[in-house]
C-alpha cells in the first residue's frame, strides 16, 4: 500500500501548496509513490490515519491549535511546510504591534480576539518531525524531503548560508551594490533565487544553525545600519526566540 499523505493549511497564503501543484509533471510522478488522501486545494473529504501530514501556515488562534493537535494525533510524521509553519513567517511581524493597532491597520477598527504572542509556529503546539523552510518553499527541496521520508533517510537541510549558492551562481554580491542582504546568515537551499532576480536576501528560510551574528552585525554596521535597522531586517522572517 502506498503511504497516505495529507496537506493542511492554517494562517497562510497557501503559496507553498501551490508550489507543489506547480511541480506539474513531477507532481504526477509523485502520485505514483504516494496516495494523497487530503488536500483542500484539490480534494474535499477528510481521511482517517495518515503516514505523512504536510502542514502549511502558522497558528493564529485556539481553534487552529486544536485542529493542529487532531492532525498530529492521526499522523505518523508531521512536516512543517514553509516559513509560516516553520517559524511563523511574516505573520509573526504582528508580535511587534499591539492588538488594537493591528485591528486598526487591517480592518480600520479595533477587532476582538487578536491574541498577543500569536501567530506562532507549529512546533510551539505539537512535535514537528521535519520541515521545509522558505517563503514559498522550494519545490525540489520538498521532493527531496519526501524521498528521504519514503526511503527512511533522515531529512537534511543545508547547514551553510545562502552566500554559497549565490557564489556558485556567480551573482554579484548585493553588499557591493550598497544593499544589505541576509544571505550570510540565512540557510541555503533556494539557489539564491532572490539575488538571481536582482533582489536581496530577506531571510525567508530562517537562520543557519550557527549564524555568525557578531561578525555579521559588524558588517551591517559598516554599511550604516543601526541595531534597530538590523533587528527590523531580521524580524521580517525570523521570530526572535524570546517571542516564540
Amino acid at each position: 500500500m502506498k503511504p497516505r499523505v495529507g496537506f493542511f493549511d492554517f494562517t497562510c497564503c497557501e503559496g507553498c501548496q501551490l508550489t507543489i501543484l506547480n511541480l506539474e509533471e513531477e507532481f504526477l510522478e509523485l502520485l505514483e509513490l504516494v496516495e494523497i488522501v487530503e488536500f483542500r486545494e484539490i480534494l474535499q473529504a477528510p481521511a482517517a490515519a495518515l503516514d505523512i501530514a504536510f502542514v502549511e501556515g502558522s497558528i493564529a488562534g485556539p481553534e487552529e491549535a486544536a485542529r493542529l493537535r487532531r492532525i498530529r494525533e492521526r499522523s505518523r510524521t508531521l512536516v512543517a511546510l514553509g516559513a509560516c509553519a516553520d517559524n511563523a513567517g511574516v505573520n509573526a511581524l504582528s508580535h511587534f504591534r499591539a492588538p488594537e493597532e493591528l485591528g486598526e491597520s487591517a480592518f480600520g477598527r479595533v477587532v476582538e480576539g487578536i491574541e498577543e504572542r500569536l501567530p506562532r509556529p507549529l512546533e510551539c503546539f505539537v512535535a514537528v518531525d521535519a520541515r521545509v523552510p522558505g517563503c514559498p518553499i522550494d519545490g525540489r527541496e520538498f521532493l527531496g524531503l519526501l524521498q528521504a521520508l519514503l526511503v527512511g533517510r533522515a531529512p537534511e537541510l543545508p547547514a551553510y548560508a545562502v552566500c554559497v549558492e549565490c557564489k556558485l551562481g556567480e551573482y554579484p554580491c548585493t553588499f557591493e551594490q550598497g544593499t544589505v542582504c541576509l544571505g550570510p546568515v540565512t540557510r541555503a537551499g533556494c539557489n539564491a533565487l532572490c539575488i538571481a532576480g536582482g533582489d536581496r536576501c530577506r531571510g525567508c528560510r530562517g537562520l543557519v544553525d550557527n549564524p555568525r551574528s557578531q561578525p555579521y552585525r559588524q558588517i551591517l554596521e559598516q554599511h550604516g545600519l543601526t541595531v534597530e535597522d538590523i533587528l527590523a531586517e531580521f524580524r521580517i522572517f525570523n521570530l526572535p526566540p524570546e517571542k516564540s
Binding site: L33, A159, A161, V164, F175, Q214, Q218, I219
Partner: protein, 632 residues
C-alpha cells in the same frame, strides 16, 4: 580532433615553443573552427557580469578582462559532478561513466594556469582522481595575458607569468593583434589543424617578459611562508580572524585550487535509481569535520581559517614545493569581512622578523663588559667567578652566558647562581683550553666580555607542588645548583627534594661546602657516589647508577631534572623510567657547544633542533626522537 586529444604525448611541452602573430579576426575564425569539434568556453558578458561560459558567438569572446571572475575550476572540477548512476531493485546496477566533453578553455590568466598545476599535484597523487583526469585530458587550455587589480598578488607568488602547463598562450600586442605561443604538442597540432593559415605562418621572436605591478605585495619571499607559519600555529591572529569570519565559505568556493568535496546519493523521483554525485564542500562550513556521533574536531572558526592558510601556504608547500595559493586575490575580493591573506601574512612576518637592520652590523655579537667581583677555587681545576653585569638580567636555571676574553675568544657558560633578577651572577669555569686557562688567571677587578643570557631553562613553575629528583653528573651540578637554589629559596612550594650526585672522585665534587650544608640541613636528601680516589665522606662507590638501588621515590608525584655528560643519559634514562617517572616530567640538560647563542652558527644543532634556541633544557618527550641527542 580525436588524434589531437588522444596523442599520449600531446600535453608534453614542445622542445622549441613557436610564436606566431594572429589578428582578432583570425582568433574568431579559430574559435569557430574549434566549435566544430569542441565545446569552447570563454569569458563573455552575461547579464550584469562577466563570466566564463560556453561560447556560442565567437565575436562575444572577451580576451581582455579584469580578474574578478570565477576560475576555470568549474569546468575541470565542477561543483556538481556525477560519479556514476545506480539502479535499485532486482540487484544494484552501476552504469558506466560517459566520456568527458572535449573542451577548449579559451582565455585563462597565468594564475589560473598555475592553479591547474596545483590541482594536478593534488588530484593525480596516489590513486589518480579519474573523474578529474577524464576532464583534464580532453580540455585544451589557452592562456591569455592579464592586468592585475588591487587584490591580485601574483607577482609575490611567482604566478604572474607561466612557462608551462598550457597548450597555447595569447600575448597581446600593441595595435590589437596577438602573438600566440605554443606550449604543447597538441597546442601546435590544434593551431595547424584549426587555424592552418596561422599555423603555416613563419615564427616570430618571443616577446620580452613583461613586468607586472601588483600594488598588493608580500613583504617576505615565497619560500619563507611555510617556515613563518610553522612558528605561528598558536598565534592569537587565528582567533581574531575566526571572530570576524562569517563561515560563508566564499573564499574556498572561489579559490581556484580548493577542491575539497562531499559525496552523496541523489535519488530519481521514482526512487528506482539515482546518481552518486560529488559537490564542493568547504573547510569553513559547519559539519565539514563532523564525525559520526561526535563533535566536529575543527569546530572553531579560527581553527578553520588557520587550516585554510596552512593548506595554502605550508602543508602543500611542504609536499610539492608549490604553494596552493596562486595570488589571484579572489578570496580577499569576495570576503565581506575583509579577511585578506597578504596583510595577514605581512603582519605575522613583521612580528616574527628580527629588529630592523642594525645601524651597527654585528651588534648582536658584541659583548658588554662585566667586572669580576670574586673568584673561588672549587676544585683543583674549577673556579667560581662572580660577575657584575652592566645591567640586571632575569633568567631561569639552565640558561647560559657567552663569556669572552678578548684575544682568545668566547665560550658558553651556564649560570650557576640562584635564578633571581639582578646584575650579579656566578659561573663555574674548568681550566681546559686556552680561553678557560686564561680566565683562571683573572682576578677580582678584571673584566670579561659577556653576552646573554641565552636559551631556555628549567620551568620552575612546573616543579612546584611536586617532589623533585635532581640527578647531577660531574659538572652537571653547575646547572642544577641554580635550580636547587631556586627551589630552596621557596622551599615550602615543593615536596620532597632528593639530590643524587656522582663524580669521578670526592675531590672532583663541586660546591663541597654547600653539599655538606645541604646534607646536614635536612631540607633535602643528598646521596653521593664517586668512582675512585679517597673517600673521606664514605660515599657510595661506583658511578651514579649505583644510587638508584633501593631508591624510594613516588614516581607519580615526582619531576626529575638530570644534568650531566651525554653518555650519562643513556644509562640513567632507563632507570628513571623503571622508577615510573613520566616522559614529560623528566627534564634533561642537553648542553652542546652553543657558540653563537643566537640559533645561527649550527654548532649546537642536534638533528633538527637548535639547542641554544629551544634548550638547553628539554623535556625528554621533546627530544626522545632525536638520534643524536642521547644515543651518541
Amino acid at each position: 580532433m580525436n588524434r589531437i586529444l588522444t596523442d599520449p604525448a600531446g600535453r608534453l611541452p614542445l622542445e622549441e615553443p613557436r610564436w606566431r602573430r594572429l589578428s582578432r579576426a583570425e582568433i574568431e575564425q579559430f574559435v569557430r573552427a574549434l566549435q566544430s569539434a569542441f565545446e569552447v568556453v570563454g569569458v563573455q558578458e552575461q547579464g550584469r557580469r562577466l563570466t566564463l561560459a560556453r561560447l556560442e558567438d565567437p565575436a562575444a569572446l572577451i580576451l581582455e578582462f579584469a580578474p574578478q571572475l570565477h576560475s576555470p575550476k568549474k569546468f575541470l572540477f565542477p561543483n556538481w559532478e556525477k560519479l556514476f548512476r545506480f539502479r535499485l531493485g532486482g540487484g544494484v546496477l552501476l552504469e558506466p561513466e560517459r566520456a568527458a566533453t572535449p573542451r577548449v578553455i579559451f582565455g585563462m590568466h597565468p594564475c589560473d594556469l598555475h592553479a591547474v598545476q596545483v590541482l594536478d599535484n593534488c588530484l593525480f597523487e596516489g590513486e589518480a582522481d579519474s573523474a578529474y583526469r577524464a576532464k583534464r585530458e580532453v580540455t585544451i587550455l589557452i592562456g591569455v595575458d592579464c592586468v592585475p587589480d588591487g587584490h591580485c598578488f601574483c607577482t609575490s607568488m611567482g604566478t604572474d607569468r607561466v612557462a608551462e602547463g598550457f597548450d597555447l598562450f595569447l600575448h597581446r600586442l600593441d595595435g590589437g593583434s596577438y602573438l600566440v605561443q605554443t606550449g604543447s604538442r597538441r597546442g601546435e597540432a590544434l593551431l595547424c589543424h584549426y587555424a592552418p593559415l596561422v599555423g603555416a605562418r613563419p615564427g616570430e621572436p618571443p616577446l620580452p617578459l613583461q613586468v607586472k605591478q601588483c600594488p598588493t605585495r608580500l613583504d617576505l619571499p615565497l619560500e619563507s611562508l611555510a617556515p613563518l607559519l610553522e612558528k605561528v600555529y598558536e598565534h592569537p591572529v587565528w582567533e581574531e580572524v575566526g571572530a570576524r569570519c562569517l563561515g560563508c565559505g566564499a573564499c574556498t568556493m572561489l579559490c581556484p585550487t580548493c577542491y575539497c568535496f562531499n559525496v552523496e546519493d541523489r535519488l530519481d523521483l521514482n526512487l528506482a535509481g539515482g546518481e552518486r554525485v560529488r559537490t564542493w564542500d568547504s573547510c569553513q562550513f559547519d559539519q565539514f569535520t563532523k564525525v559520526a556521533d561526535g563533535p566536529e574536531f575543527r569546530g572553531n572558526q579560527g581553527d578553520r581559517q588557520r587550516h585554510r592558510f596552512f593548506r595554502k601556504y605550508k602543508y602543500l608547500w611542504d609536499k610539492y614545493q608549490r604553494t596552493a595559493c596562486v595570488g589571484c586575490g579572489r578570496c580577499s575580493r569576495e570576503c565581506l569581512s575583509r579577511i585578506e591573506p597578504v596583510p595577514l601574512l605581512n603582519r605575522l612576518f613583521a612580528e616574527q622578523a628580527r629588529p630592523a637592520p642594525s645601524l651597527s652590523p654585528g651588534a648582536e655579537y658584541r659583548p658588554q663588559l662585566a667586572e669580576i667581583l670574586y673568584v673561588a677555587q672549587l676544585t683543583e681545576t674549577e673556579k667560581l667567578f662572580r660577575l657584575r653585569l652592566p645591567q640586571p638580567i632575569e633568567f631561569q636555571p639552565g640558561e647560559f652566558l657567552e663569556i669572552s676574553v678578548f684575544g682568545l675568544g668566547e665560550a658558553p657558560f651556564t649560570i650557576a647562581s640562584a635564578p633571581v633578577a639582578g646584575a650579579e651572577v656566578d659561573v663555574v669555569v674548568r681550566a681546559a683550553g686556552t680561553l678557560t686557562q686564561a680566565m683562571h688567571r683573572l682576578k677580582p677587578g678584571d673584566t670579561v666580555g659577556v653576552r646573554g643570557p641565552f636559551g631556555n631553562g628549567f620551568p620552575l613553575e612546573q616543579f612546584a607542588g611536586r617532589d623533585v629528583l635532581l640527578v647531577a653528573g660531574g659538572m652537571g651540578l653547575i646547572t642544577l645548583r641554580s635550580l636547587l637554589l631556586g627551589i630552596l629559596a621557596r622551599r615550602e612550594r615543593f615536596g620532597r627534594v632528593l639530590l643524587l650526585y656522582g663524580a669521578r672522585s670526592v675531590g672532583h665534587y663541586l660546591f663541597r661546602d654547600e653539599l655538606l650544608a645541604w646534607h646536614r640541613g635536612g631540607e633535602l636528601d643528598c646521596r653521593f657516589a664517586a668512582g675512585q680516589g679517597e673517600n673521606p665522606w664514605t660515599v657510595t662507590r661506583g658511578d651514579i647508577t649505583h644510587l638508584f638501588k633501593d631508591l624510594d621515590v613516588v614516581a607519580e608525584r615526582t619531576s626529575a631534572a638530570v644534568s650531566g655528560p651525554a653518555r650519562m643519559y643513556r644509562s640513567l634514562n632507563p632507570l628513571l623510567f623503571r622508577l615510573g617517572i613520566a616522559e614529560d616530567r623528566l627534564f634533561l640538560n642537553l648542553e652542546r657547544h652553543m657558540k653563537c647563542g643566537l640559533g645561527k652558527c649550527g654548532k649546537c644543532r642536534i638533528n633538527d633542533i637548535c639547542v641554544c634556541e629551544s634548550g638547553p633544557i628539554f623535556p625528554y618527550a621533546r627530544v626522545k626522537h632525536l638520534k643524536e641527542a642521547i644515543e651518541r
